[in-house]
Symmetry: C2
Subunit: 304 residues, 2 copies
């Protein structure tokens, strides 16, 4: 595996800027120029939660999956914004004292620190709700059939059978360590579901045939697994550094991960295998899939 | 104004039973008979939050608004279930320690008491998400155009320009008392938006013409105002009883209400006026609107 090319880094950054610009507009003063009073304090908290300088990897996957099949870039940007609202609402709620109790995210105070707990709960709720507003809004240049399919897929990726369900399993895992199958299920739901949705969304936006849809979903599943494995490896490295030792079993975290079960060498081989399989899935598209393939590598190799 | 007829009470109760039955099925073991693992603990918390023996007034309004215009009763029941999920998610989150900090609701422990805070946050998030799942699901017998319109209207009634925004204004009102216009805005958002949506939903489900849609929306606005005024009167009575005195200015609650500003006699006259205006709006439908008119009276006269 190799580091990303300058071209890829620029493309990822350009997509992140376009997304920030859209979200800032949707949650900005101009969006309030109607008869509805949107409390300024709540809007500020929503902006704090979502305009956080993230890499915007999920919206990038929506954009590139859509581009692979010649779908509308404008629609992909809006669906990416909706997806990022869901991702960021989950971060705002996960950071709450009753959940992970984190005071900092990307070096900035978390929403309940910068505002207060009640405002953070409401800002998260509002970001989640706004995601569906964005999908269904007239400004999203898709058919009602596509919008309905996207609402359903996003709700299922986010809800009790997806991300929120995975988060509940994660809380339970702090008390009773899950077995390997349990870890796989937890991770597929908690982080995998939104990443898979990102790729599936491209197929829906581009009105893909069943074969293309199946390939993009399968690609999303592979890179969702890779994302989590890379995350676990990063945690291990961070722990090792923090503990001043070069190896570790991750037992200190009190939660099982596949890396903790099988070791770092296994995880690195598994990552290579997942990226190769993801690449293989997109082979029928030839060089058109180059950016998505590079995204898979980026996900596996990322160091933050 | 008169008490509701036995016929009305039976109809309201039958609708509540049908709704509980649908929601119980949607969140029951049968709904899990697929490949997706839905954490049992989270599902139980969602059921605790939503299967709470409420009057189900909002779903009833969806059903009766739909019936007025000969729309699909099956669709109305499912949209009512989605709306109730949104209403109940807001109760679960409002009861949290960081918000209203309530231990009991309808005589039962609130979700964060019966489970824990983290589970209550996730159960609320999941109920909100599930609402959009229900609207968009293939089982909802509506066109994609209708589903898209309902998703958008529900998201706007619930989000930062609707219910959640009203809740944020309500929190702010505990620090700085709003003026009369501020109170009206707060209430229109916090409680009015979902009630208006309930009536608007009937028009969307029945594919109503613009004139019928306008009437149902206006009707929803009137009874939303009446609902809040009746609530404020109930609070006053409850406070008076708790404080052992028969009159009161509601100043003890630390929040302004229109009843506190203008007094009980004014509020009772205003309620009568709102019900009369609501009735007038539906006059073109003759006796077909009898149940909705009785619902308006029920909302104004309710004692719990």
């Amino acid at each position: 595996m190799q580091d990303e090319t300058p071209f890829f880094a620029e493309r990822l950054q350009a997509a992140a800027l376009a997304l920030e610009s859209l979200l800032s507009g949707l949650l900005g003063p101009a969006a309030q120029a109607d008869e509805i009073a949107r409390p300024a304090h709540l809007l500020e908290a929503m902006r704090h939660g979502v305009l956080n300088g993230g890499k915007r990897l999920r919206p990038f996957l929506v954009a590139e999956s859509t581009a692979l099949l010649d779908g509308s870039a404008d629609a992909a940007l809006r669906i990416g914004a909706a997806l990022e609202c869901v991702h960021c609402y989950s971060l705002v709620h996960d950071d709450l004292p009753a959940m992970d109790d984190d005071d900092l995210r990307r070096g900035q105070p978390t929403v309940h620190i910068a505002f207060d707990e009640a405002t953070a709960i409401l800002a998260g709720d509002s970001l989640l709700t706004f995601a569906f507003d964005i999908v269904a809004a007239p400004e999203t240049p898709l058919s009602d059939r596509q919008k309905t399919a996207l609402v359903l897929a996003l709700a299922r990726a986010s809800g009790h059978g997806g991300m929120a369900g995975g988060q509940a399993l994660d809380l339970a895992a702090e008390k009773t360590a899950p077995d390997e199958a349990g870890i796989v299920t937890l991770q597929a739901m908690k982080t995998g579901a939104l990443i898979r949705f990102a790729c599936e969304a491209g197929a829906i936006i581009a009105d893909a045939n069943p074969e293309d849809s199946r390939r993009l979903r399968a690609f999303g599943e592979k890179i969702g697994l890779a994302f989590q494995l890379a995350d676990d490896l990063l945690d291990l490295t961070a722990d090792a550094e923090a503990m001043g030792k070069a190896t570790g079993k991750d037992a200190a975290r009190g939660k099982g991960t596949l890396v903790a079960l099988h070791g770092q060498a296994w995880a690195e081989r598994e990552l290579e295998r997942l990226v190769a399989e993801a690449e293989e899935l997109l082979a029928p598209y030839g060089t058109r899939s180059a950016v998505l393939v590079e995204t898979a590598r980026f996900i596996a190799n990322r160091r933050s």
